[in-house]
């Protein structure tokens, strides 16, 4: 049955990449938040599966954090935020969706090509998971780069963090305390960004980060 547990682990990691692509594809804000919730859900499933096959119960805690915190709380908070701020519901992408997805493909290929030789001697479960996790991280960064709307940048950031989480659980022996501290740092970051969003919005009547550029010196 060893083969099947491999397969399911890969499957879930692959599903995470797939959901990352769905994020790149999505141009509506509310739908994007749903996809973010799905992303976290897949992550928590993946972590729970790792907990099962590695036989390390503390990973269940991580999975629970991912589920409760990232899959439910954060999307809900973001949704409220979007609603209260009355943000325009379509996201303006800097680059077209097709091109972004093409770039995403290239990033996946790159991360596979980089990680697989490097981790050749590692645990076979971890190997491809780490490669896929790196692609999730890169796609998250890509999303932050190619979207104008600050909310979608937050979403990109959250998905990036999910990727880090996936990589961390794939490698055995990650202490719980590190994970909890990561989770809290993300929470702090989320709160800070949230506050900033409101401040930006109050000042400039928009969350389009392009608007901020106008106020930088010399560019007027």
């Amino acid at each position: 049955m060893h083969g099947l547990s491999f397969d399911i682990a890969h499957m879930l990691a692959g599903a995470l990449v797939l959901v990352s692509f769905m994020m790149l594809y999505q141009v509506r804000l509310y739908a994007l938040l749903n996809v973010l919730a799905l992303h976290a859900l897949v992550l928590s499933l993946s972590v729970a599966w790792q907990a099962h096959i590695q036989g390390s119960p503390h990973l269940y805690v991580t999975a629970a954090i991912a589920l409760g915190f990232k899959a439910i709380l954060v999307p809900w908070a973001l949704r409220r935020m979007v609603f209260r701020m009355g943000v325009h519901r379509e996201i303006e992408a800097v680059v077209s969706v097709g091109l972004t997805m093409l770039a995403g493909m290239a990033l996946v290929a790159l991360s596979l090509e980089v990680m697989l030789p490097v981790t050749a001697k590692a645990d076979p479960i971890a190997r491809e998971d780490i490669a896929l996790a790196l692609s999730v991280v890169l796609i998250g960064l890509l999303m932050m780069v190619t979207r104008r709307n600050a909310v979608s940048q937050v979403v990109g950031f959250m998905s990036l963090e999910n990727g880090i989480n996936l990589a961390a659980t794939g490698a055995r022996g990650m202490p719980l305390v590190v994970e909890i501290s990561i989770a809290f740092s993300i929470l702090i970051a989320f709160i800070v960004i949230g506050i900033f969003l409101f401040r930006i919005r109050e000042r400039f009547d928009t969350v389009d980060v392009g608007a901020l550029d106008k106020f930088r010196g010399g560019q007027g």
Partner: protein, 665 residues
Amino acid sequence: METVLIAILCLLLLGMIAAVTARMPIGRVLTYGGCLIVCLVILGTGLTSIAGPIQRLTLPLGLPGSGTHLRLDALASFFLVLTGLGGAGASLFAIGYGRHEEEPARVLPFYPVFLAGMNLVILADDAFTFLFAWELMSISSWALVMAQHREDGNAHAAFVYMLMAAFSGMTLLLAFGLLAGPSGNYAFDAIRAVSPSNGLASAALLLALIGTGAKAGLVPLHVWLPLAHPAAPSHVSALMSGVMTKIAIYGFVRIVFDLLPTPPWWFATIVLVLGGITAVLGVLHAMLERDMKRLLAFSTVENIGIVFVALGLALAFKANAFTTGVTLALTGAFFHALNHTVFKSLLFFGAGAVLNATGHRDLERLGGLIHRMPRTAVAVLVGCIAISALPPLNGFASEWLIFQAILLRPELPQWGPKLALPVDGALLALAAALAAACFVRAFGIAFLGRPRSPAAEQARETDIWSQAAMLIFAGLCLLGGILPGVVIDFLAPVLQALSGARIAPQVSDAWLTVAPITASRSSYNGLLVFLFISGSAVLTVAVIHRFASSGLRRAPPWDCGFPDPNPATQYTAASFDQPIRRVYGAVVFRTREKVDMPSPGDTRAASIAKTSHDTIWELAYAPIARLILAVATVLNLMQHLTIRRYLGFVFAALVILLVSLTLWQ
């Protein structure tokens, strides 16, 4: 061997005769008829000698001390088949088509010489003869491009062509120079015997790719092709697109697969990447083109890309000593080259026939020709289906083989080919789908619908010679498609010579099914598919007409209740490609559309303006042209100096030379 040599001499002789008789009515029939016979002889020789032994001949001509080496092996025989076939078709077509030539003296003498040059390239067995024949081919085709030099843009096309041809010849010269080694023996046998150092071989490989790629139309060296091919008379366009590009492929295969040792994998990656880009870029250009002949020329670029992808596959497999893959990929490449010769010639004939009948090459001025040129329409339709890689015609069979080669997926250890292979698969599929779109548009706008100009309304069916040429080639498209096994078996000796292995014989199967590896892995039976489709279609027609209804009434078009008798209301070529332009053009060509729609009550006419950029021209060629212009402006100053200063220059040059000589020692 001797037969081909005599045939080439006959062609040169025909050229001379044509120079004298060009202005007489008999000149046309004499030249083209002669070329037809000679090409058929060459075709026959190629067909018979492909499985025969290697023949050699050394003539006491050419460079002193080395002579002219000629050789006829399996590879050369196959390409002789291409030149023979393409040449015979073009000559047959031209017997009728040439009647409309305004200045036959500018075409007739060069046409046989062009054919002779192409055949001589194939026979050449030393670098000098090869380059001589290469340049003969270039110069004679240049003269043919210049034949209608009074038309707009043709002189420019010829100029660009000349530059690129010179560039291509120069890189090949350098490549051979590197390969000849210290002994300076330019015979191919001597080049094969030398094993060059890695750096030298790499440089030679790249130079060969550039030199032959420039002639074949590989992106980014393709810019001349869509200018020059359409500028020539249509039968010459057919030869240039259908045959001359194959000669360039021959040159590439000869140098890379035969003369040089196994190339490294990075070279395979370059070929794969360039091939994939060429295929997609070519067909996108073709899709957005209004001029029928330019459209066909761009589609040639696409097909060259497909062939280069297959060659790149073969190289990647060869670098990993995976012989099954090499044979399959090379078979796909050669098969596609053959198919392209057939259907591209056919389509250029069709374009020529339409051009003669209507005087237009612009799709927007055609339409409804299926009613007035029924036989041409049938032949062109077959060509369009074949080039769109649809079963059961030949274009599909060769692309199917190439896909099968990609699917072999050996354990490639290098990252380059490993990533390039699947991406090329996607690019090939994209190119095939876009080609189908492109030829729906070309055929649909030119031959279907309602006439868009008075000339199209009064078109007449073309002459009997042209029809014969087109219908024969259409028949060949079908034959190659339903009997691919015959072609694959025919190619076996070439592969045996190049890779030391062959694909299992195909014709032995009772049902003529093609199964390149094993039947459980993949198989295709063009004949059965064709029979099934035609059988069930005929059956359905019979059943319905017998048992259901067979009545037919004619009425004005329905068009959802808004029929408009004005032909301007139908879809045009530009409106047909608008969705594709919007999806791909915005990225590749930076196309922008600007619609100016007056508000209600405003009597101003609405307008739409579209802009697009040829990215490659702007990025690669325009800077070079600007640089040359700038340098020329500076150098221009030197044309107004006194004689004393000129002497001063000469003196300074001499002194510098002497100083550098002393420093060197």
